[in-house]
Symmetry: C2
Subunit: 256 residues, 2 copies
Amino acid sequence: MRTVEKALRLLDFFTDKRVEIGLSDLARLSGIDKATVLRMLADMAECGFVEQNPETRRWRLGAGVLRLARLREHAQPVTRVLTPILEKLAQETGETAHASLLSGRDLANIGVIEPARANRVYIEPGLVLPLHATASGIAVTAFLRPEQQERVLARTLTAVTGMTPTSRAALEQVVRRTRERGYAVADQTFEAEVYGIAVPIFGPDGYAAGALAVAIPASRASDEHERKIIAALEPAAQSATTGLGGRPSPEHRISS
Amino acid sequence: MRTVEKALRLLDFFTDKRVEIGLSDLARLSGIDKATVLRMLADMAECGFVEQNPETRRWRLGAGVLRLARLREHAQPVTRVLTPILEKLAQETGETAHASLLSGRDLANIGVIEPARANRVYIEPGLVLPLHATASGIAVTAFLRPEQQERVLARTLTAVTGMTPTSRAALEQVVRRTRERGYAVADQTFEAEVYGIAVPIFGPDGYAAGALAVAIPASRASDEHERKIIAALEPAAQSATTGLGGRPSPEHRISS
DNA sequence: AAACGTCGGTGTATATAATGAACCGGCGAG
DNA sequence: CTCGCCGGTTCATTATATACACCGACGTTT
């Protein structure tokens, strides 16, 4: 398999909870030989992607990623554009709002705003959202270019919870419904007790580039609450699309 | 040579000015064969590090770097800690203040604040600062762990301007002076017309992890201005060190 | 319109660089 | 003292990266 990809995939094992990882742990997690992992880490360290804690000898993400993020943000200020939109969304709905962008085969969460209330959904920063198992992912998949959509549908779909669609037929149906309604819902398909509602953000080519979503405790799900959230999501996604230089798809229209 | 490192080095060709790069351009810039570059880009795209503009087919940094940066920032909020310090520094000195961290073999600029005045130094976001050619780099080098310092001194030093120290002896002398004074100055060693003054930020191990610096137009350099800047830099670097969980080096003391 | 240069991308034989099992010294627990 | 695991190193094997030649498409120049 390709060496570069294997090396970069190592970085995906760093999460909110797992900030530092030892060599043997990372070898176990990835299923790659220790010696190979070490060489990859050393290579990535030379470039500043990871760094080694001199005391514990464990590895963590390096300052190089901050540099690259600043460069990208300077070229296209997504965080700057999306943050105020998310804030308004969280305030209007009283629920956790988040935004994510297509990143490789999956969706990368790149912004979360939580509401002031106590009972709210917590979303880990920098989380990877599988396309088939989240409201955001479905919203994006439904408005992807046909070839890319086909690639997603053809995947082996892993179940994250008992509610995750795992067959191609089930996913196709959810996608079809999403295209009809213009928004996606996901009832505990990614995490128990969490209900997600998402709308796509479009790129300059008129295909989905990401999604704007609201996550609520499943216990609060109701038709009325959902209508209110969708009413807030629609204009938010509109301004996100135009704010990022995108062009709305002619095939996208919200209808409940 | 190592494939992973070669691939990651491709990302360093993206700058403030060069936001998108075509395949042939990148092959020329890097000196690597087109076919190889394409495979590396494809691998990195799978992981979200780069993405291809569907219209122009040129490549740019992907959303994955934003995700990783958020993750690192969540684990250790360097930007949050350093921004207010830089703002105060820029305001007190009336000059451009910036911060950088060790990242691989070099220093990565991860924050810049410009003062309100018209004649000020502009520093590109996400710039890579060579250790031997900038005030920040010298400040860091002077307080590195001995083995690492040796590696820097042993390098072949490339001249960036006519003023860049290029011999080991010259660099050693600058480093020695910096250790004595506790701060580094660089008179147009990296860019013409720019005079830099920098102080190290220390990591938990008591060695340099980065630097805080003030860049001024060379025309404004004077002993008095320099004294004022150093007086502002010292407490700023102190709070940066402690704010990032570092421990000041016992060997570091400012003395002019 | 023909000829040319350049673009992004592909196929394939070759050679180089990645691989993984065995091994090391160090360290903490039992 | 022994055991097990840690991070790290070594080296023969082989799988993988590489670069050359080539493709069709596009835009300029002649």
